[in-house]
Symmetry: C2
Subunit: 307 residues, 2 copies
Amino acid sequence: MMELDFIRWLRGRLPDDARLRVGPGDDAAVLDVGRGLVVTTDMVTDGVDFHLERCDPRRAGRKALAVNLSDLAAMAAQPLAVVVSVALPRKGAAELARALVEGMIPLAQEFDVAFAGGDTNTWDGPLAISVTALGEVTEHGALLRSGAKPGDAIVVTGSFGGSILGKHFDFQPRIREALYLNANYRVRACIDVSDGLARDLSHMATASACGAVLDIEAVPIADAARELAVTSVGRTALDHALGDGEDFELLLAMSPEEAARVLADQPLDAPLARVGEFIAEPGFWRRTSDGKSQPLEPTGFEHRGEL
Amino acid sequence: MMELDFIRWLRGRLPDDARLRVGPGDDAAVLDVGRGLVVTTDMVTDGVDFHLERCDPRRAGRKALAVNLSDLAAMAAQPLAVVVSVALPRKGAAELARALVEGMIPLAQEFDVAFAGGDTNTWDGPLAISVTALGEVTEHGALLRSGAKPGDAIVVTGSFGGSILGKHFDFQPRIREALYLNANYRVRACIDVSDGLARDLSHMATASACGAVLDIEAVPIADAARELAVTSVGRTALDHALGDGEDFELLLAMSPEEAARVLADQPLDAPLARVGEFIAEPGFWRRTSDGKSQPLEPTGFEHRGEL
């Protein structure tokens, strides 16, 4: 829970700055440069976000870049450039640095991201990879977390849960999807699901001064969540879908009419689903088709701890 | 020596990108946004750039920001914003994160830098702090490493050596000095001295396809270098001045006429000195006032390892 506390503390310590259209606390900041310069930073570390002793370092490198592109997607920003700084274990540092970059290059090329520089450090600690991604606001504006209104539909891309089985490495940042939706539909708010569907929904609702009701039977459950549930103790596939995190899907707020339109259109390769609605009263609820509601625990992990 | 090898390898792996006015290899990159967006990233780590068990974490935080501002200075960029990502040891992580920011805030305010966001991570490793600084090119353009010409004077701010005694924490990034010089004099090339005077001079000369001659009797030796030399075995104060690094002074290339003008003016709070000249032939030399030259070893450490 350091995250929200830390943001609150930080905001109290910093003066307002006219150059910051969007400051700390959203998926990325927006600076008053050009049409709007979007900047986000995310660090991934050995032992938390990957385990170097049992993964190809190229996958760790790819993930470090992909999680940052996912934050640009959540703002509906057009990717521009990245810089990368790494703390490398001394042994095999040069080979590791190259493998990390090799893992990043295909993704950077796919999304037309310029590699603007970086900093390589060797030390006695484990591998840490920090990426800062820069993007530009399009003519359709940036999507914030804070724009949801009571009555808005909760719309998601893709499916949820069980990302630990592979998707947390191999996910596609939803850049194209976010740009397309923002250009062709009225989207009120957007966040990428990194901490878990329930938790990131609570983040958006809180930022928008709303509550939220999740229609749990409508939540698209990933095959990986069902697979995990077979062996996990006391957790259903739905529990995994709500709490696992690192799905890196988009969670959107749209008016009921716009949601109906986009669901009828299904314009993306990824399926879109309506999974609930925002409400005026604070609080988070899980609802079944018989109309019964129970409190929704915003479980999921905050290890990413974005400021 | 990973640095130059890595840059060379990286350049071979990356396609040219029209948005990169200046790509990896200078003090910072310049992106084609607005008048020119300058971006640089530098990570500092426990056990290499500071020792947390014997320094106030606020000094570590300040240093993480200051080294990045020094890279903006080296480009003569106007600071705009920073983002910060940290890997925090689990024990006392929240307090440590706040102390790091507390150390950054006065410097950020002094140089009018917006704090645009960040990412806090906890892990079982030591403290690593990655800062990305953004700045804007002024109407006078960006200063690169590569603009020195044979015959140009080598001009430096301040004095050199012994930064380990305190300056590596407490230095003032030469932002104001770089902006002033760039606005009022014709500066051909600029670098900040992080790896050591001899080594960074070799970086600039190599980037400019020149050689260089250092008039070693003209090198301003810091009191701290003399203090260190009293106890260091086999290293003179001059050796410290040439090799210690982390002085974060500016090293500039100027025509002999411009150098004479700025030295006569001495327009800065920091003293300016002429310490040698660039030459057409590759190679690095140390020259004494009797006219004798010896090879100059580009000693100094590359632990910063900028890409």
